[in-house]
């Protein structure tokens, strides 16, 4: 058994009495690719908010590489090695893809390093390589706001990788993408999984089947069950609350 990269114990998050996350326990091994699914309102996004420090847990704790994350702010958690991709792509619109990647890639992120430092040769090579991986070489120097939705999704994944995190949190990476693009992103994630721990939140079952090794089902803020895709699909609890029949699932 490899070591745990992320452990969550008895996590509860409540907003004005409403429990978005309710006594949740979860753990992930280093190097794992985990898919988290769950119906709308299951608390998936809040779950990510808590891990990345955007929302502080009401009770319980999140441990990353053996460190309790509660006292740290978002940017500190990001520097510790947790990268996040948002549901709708959030790239810096008024910068070029290359500049976007440069910002994410920079080794030192304090004010004076940003002011005085010039990107090192190694960084530039990384960025050039990344641009190639995400297929944005021809558009590396136009403003990111001019990119298509799919290109922005890829750029954001690229930014995530540029941060070289140990754990990648990816929120609905294929929402709004064509089938072909979905498959691209899928193989990109699988390639990344060779060297990173990744948690993916996704609705698209086709896509989940493509990439999933182990799946966690969230429901009403708690873990409903965990297992391989087959186990999940045959679990009566899951069928009851979420999958229903497969046909209806595809409609969603």
């Amino acid at each position: 058994m490899s070591e745990k990269i992320l452990e969550i114990e008895n996590l509860t998050v409540s907003f004005d009495g409403f429990k978005a996350i309710n006594n949740l326990n979860f753990s992930m091994n280093a190097g794992e690719l985990r898919v988290v699914i769950g119906p709308n309102g299951a608390g998936k996004t809040t779950f990510m908010d808590v891990i990345t420090g955007k929302t502080k847990p009401t009770t319980g704790q999140v441990t990353f590489k053996g460190k309790n994350l509660r006292p740290y702010a978002e940017h500190q958690i990001a520097r510790m090695g947790i990268g996040r991709k948002f549901q709708t792509p959030r790239v810096y619109q008024k910068l070029t893809p290359r500049e976007n990647l440069e910002l994410s890639c920079a080794a030192s992120k304090n004010v004076f390093a940003s002011l005085l430092g010039r990107p090192a040769a190694g960084e530039r090579r990384t960025i050039a390589g990344l641009l190639e991986t995400i297929g944005l070489v021809p558009k590396a120097d136009i403003l990111a706001e001019l990119l298509s939705h799919g290109e922005k999704q890829r750029l954001e994944i690229g930014m995530l990788v540029a941060q070289s995190p140990d754990l990648l949190l990816v929120d609905e990476p294929v929402a709004g993408l064509t089938d072909e693009e979905t498959e691209n992103v899928g193989s990109l994630l699988l390639a990344l999984a060779e060297s990173h721990s990744i948690m993916v939140i996704e609705h698209d079952m086709e896509f989940v089947r493509q990439i999933a090794r182990k799946v966690t089902v969230l429901h009403q803020g708690t873990v409903l069950c965990e297992g391989t895709m087959d186990e999940i699909q045959n679990d009566p609890k899951v069928i009851e609350v979420y999958l229903g029949t497969e046909e209806t699932e595809h409609v969603e």
Binding site: H75, A78, R90, A128, E132, P138, K139, M159
Partner: protein, 395 residues
């Protein structure tokens, strides 16, 4: 990945994005500075408009403050309505030094009015010129850094930040306005009757020096801001403007960046305040009027935000418009200014320099019968067929 199939043809581009050579820009700025120093006063004098030289000098000083506003508003998206504080702090620092140019043992006249016989403690260091020169930009910088830290630390931003800076402005105004015994309250400090290097401050020789200093500092300030915004820091400021929460998840702490840039812009305002004060001959708490601080923003908006040239240009244009209009029709200046705010926000959001945008240049070129200079994806540019079509547009 399909999109990467062309990988073999495209060599990974290892050079950083080609930074436009800075040399032409440096030469232009230096040339402009020389024009302002040697030609502008001479020209104005020739036209019998000698008094305008002083105005020009003052407005050049204001342009320095505009650069600072542009840094925080145009680039970083923070709308400060309290830059009058820093402007006044710089002005007061220099004015205090000038007031102290007295024979030993004397204290400035106004103290006698309030029965103060001993120089207040905080005046003492301003005897020293080096201290004063440092104080002109260090005091505003430090005040801004503290204020900024307290505000940004708590992620107070947007309009809340604007409102708080405005409240801070009122506070400083009240303080300076109410403390007669310390700094002559509402009457302010006069500088034109003080001695400076063996002559009156209002002496033409000294005024020329201040004019030249304004030009030099504007050029230096421009160069500094240009350097600041051209590197990674500049891009990060833009990133903070467009999506601050996202910046945190990239591992940056926006707080320090904002504190830094707010402090820098305060320092610029301080320098502007000092240069403006010696050329207008007095500094009063009116420099911390609510209206004046918002006016600074409109200079930048008129010129074109997020373009440093626009900021400086806007400061000059608006202020000359203001003098001309309020000389002719004093009651209409406010109407005009109000309309300017409305226009710049609704119709001309990127200011005068925005008129030079790509579309308008394209339109102008087409009107002049020049071939359009299109910019598309680089791969398209290299396409022979496209090139052919461009050369023979009529087909």
């Amino acid at each position: 990945m399909t999109a990467v199939e062309t990988k073999s043809q495209i060599q990974p581009d290892l050079t950083p994005r080609k930074r436009k050579s800075l040399l032409p820009e440096i030469i232009t700025v230096a040339a402009l500075a020389l024009v302002f120093i040697f030609l502008a006063p001479a020209l104005l004098n020739l036209m019998g408009q000698g008094s305008r030289v002083n105005q020009l000098g003052r407005f050049l000083a204001l342009a320095i403050a505009a650069l600072g506003i542009d840094l925080i508003w145009g680039y970083t998206g923070m709308l400060s309505l309290g830059h009058g504080i820093f402007f006044a702090l710089g002005g007061y620092a220099l004015a205090m030094h000038l007031q102290l140019q007295l024979p030993a043992g004397q204290i400035p006249d106004f103290f006698n009015l309030y029965g103060v016989t001993e120089l207040p403690l905080f005046w003492q260091p301003f005897y020293s010129l080096p201290f004063t020169v440092a104080a002109i930009f260090i005091i505003p910088t430090v005040v801004a850094a503290i204020l900024g830290y307290l505000v940004f630390r708590n992620r107070i931003r947007g309009v809340y930040f604007s409102i708080l800076t405005q409240a801070a402005l009122i506070v400083f105004f009240n303080f300076f306005n109410g403390q007669q015994k310390l700094i002559n309250g509402t009457n302010g400090l006069k500088t034109d009757t003080a001695q400076f290097f063996g002559a009156l401050v209002s002496d033409p020789r000294n005024q020329t020096v201040f004019f030249v200093l304004s030009v030099v500092f504007l050029a230096l300030g421009y160069a500094f801001c240009r350097w600041l915004t051209s590197g990674r820091l500049g891009r990060l400021l833009v990133a903070i403007r467009d999506d601050e929460p996202r910046v945190r998840f990239s591992g940056y702490d926006p707080t320090w960046y904002k504190v830094f840039v707010f402090a820098v812009s305060a320092g610029l305002a301080g320098i502007a305040g000092a240069l403006y004060t010696v050329q207008s001959g007095i500094i009063t708490p009116k420099a911390m009027d609510i209206a004046f601080s918002i006016e600074m923003v409109i200079w930048v908006a008129v010129g074109g935000r997020a373009t440093l040239v626009g900021a400086a240009l806007g400061a000059l244009i608006v202020n000359f418009a203001k003098t001309l209009l309020s000389e002719q029709y004093p009651e209409f200046w406010l109407f005009f200014q109000g309309a300017l705010f409305l226009l710049v926000v609704t119709v001309l959001p990127s200011g005068f320099l925005g008129l030079l945008s790509a579309e308008n240049v394209l339109w102008l070129r087409s009107r002049l019968g020049l071939p359009p200079k299109l910019s598309t994806y680089p791969s398209l540019e290299e396409d022979l067929e496209v090139q052919h079509e461009r050369k023979n547009p009529r087909n």
